[in-house]
Symmetry: C2
Subunit: 188 residues, 2 copies
């Protein structure tokens, strides 16, 4: 795959971004490459283009699949697996959110539940400390539950909901601080 200067810079930037997001550089770059390429690429070509070890690509592809961000495809007359990026960004974002919930929120809830159950036999801990732990547990559980509910909405409904949110926000803002000149009606 021949990269144009902008494609290259896009990929590099994504590598940066990825680190902030908890992916590692290679993983992020591979996604970026597949995303701009817009066409399925085999692993060795990815390795060649990004100049990383073939094995590194293998591992990273695994991770991307676990995030649900790329998919395997096959080309006729080619035994190699090819990979495509999910290009619908709503879908991709949802996949990332799902994965993060699963990895970050759910285990936390579980851990906190464990603490709470242990707390019953811990006579050195204060009542209020337990209460605080409980409220953190409940908070996470509520947020998680809400997410699950909303997560299953078809995209159209979701968009409607988001627009509603934004609209409410704008009305609210106007009501609360009518000092802004409010020249533009749009955001930003």
């Amino acid at each position: 795959m021949q990269l144009s200067p902008v494609m290259e810079s896009f990929i590099l930037h994504w590598g940066e971004m990825g680190s902030r997001w908890g992916l590692n550089r290679t993983v992020a770059q591979i996604y970026a490459l597949l995303y701009v390429a817009g066409t399925p690429l085999p692993a060795d070509e990815i390795a060649g283009t990004l100049k990383v070890a073939r094995s590194n690509v293998s591992t990273s592809i695994r991770e991307l699949q676990s995030w649900g961000l790329i998919a395997r495809t096959h080309a006729i007359g080619d035994r190699r697996d090819h990979f495509v990026a999910e290009t619908d960004l709503w879908t991709a974002a949802a996949r990332v959110a799902d994965a993060r919930k699963r990895r970050e929120i759910d285990p936390a809830i579980e851990a906190l539940a464990g603490c709470l159950s242990d707390a019953r036999t811990d006579d050195a801990i204060g009542k209020d400390a337990v209460a605080r732990i409980r409220s953190m547990h409940d908070f996470l559980e509520a947020a998680g539950g809400w997410y699950e509910d909303v997560r299953e909405l078809p995209q159209s409904k979701l968009e409607t909901l988001m627009k509603m949110g934004a609209k409410v926000a704008r009305l609210e803002a106007r009501a609360r601080k009518p000092k802004k000149k409010k020249k533009g009606k749009g955001r930003r």
Copy 2:
């Protein structure tokens, strides 16, 4: 600060969690400690309780402040700074979300905008590749804008909105898969 077994395990778990969330262990543990303690603690006591270097506490406290998760307070007759955790979890979550947007989303938008402007003078890049980059840029910008709008809502409104979301989700779910005991009247 004397830690009970459960408090200790809570803190340890939080340290774990923190790493998944992009904080480092010490930072996460300090927040956890202040959170369960529920009372302001001076830096050296934090260091003593968690058995980490005093300087490490100093750095971590800085970071926690930059996330807006703890605040300085003072006790009469004590020159030392004391720190308390934000215990309202709505607020804390909002602070984290703000910080993440600022660190993760905003720079990404900027980088993508840069790519797009460069793309005009890059004749080796395909139209469709540019289009894909643009759609990613627009997606992030839209999401960021939405977030900003909603972010400013008072908590009560936000909660209403979330409840609405969940309710819509439940109705929607019933309409779409009428196999639940409810005799589905709607089909799609």
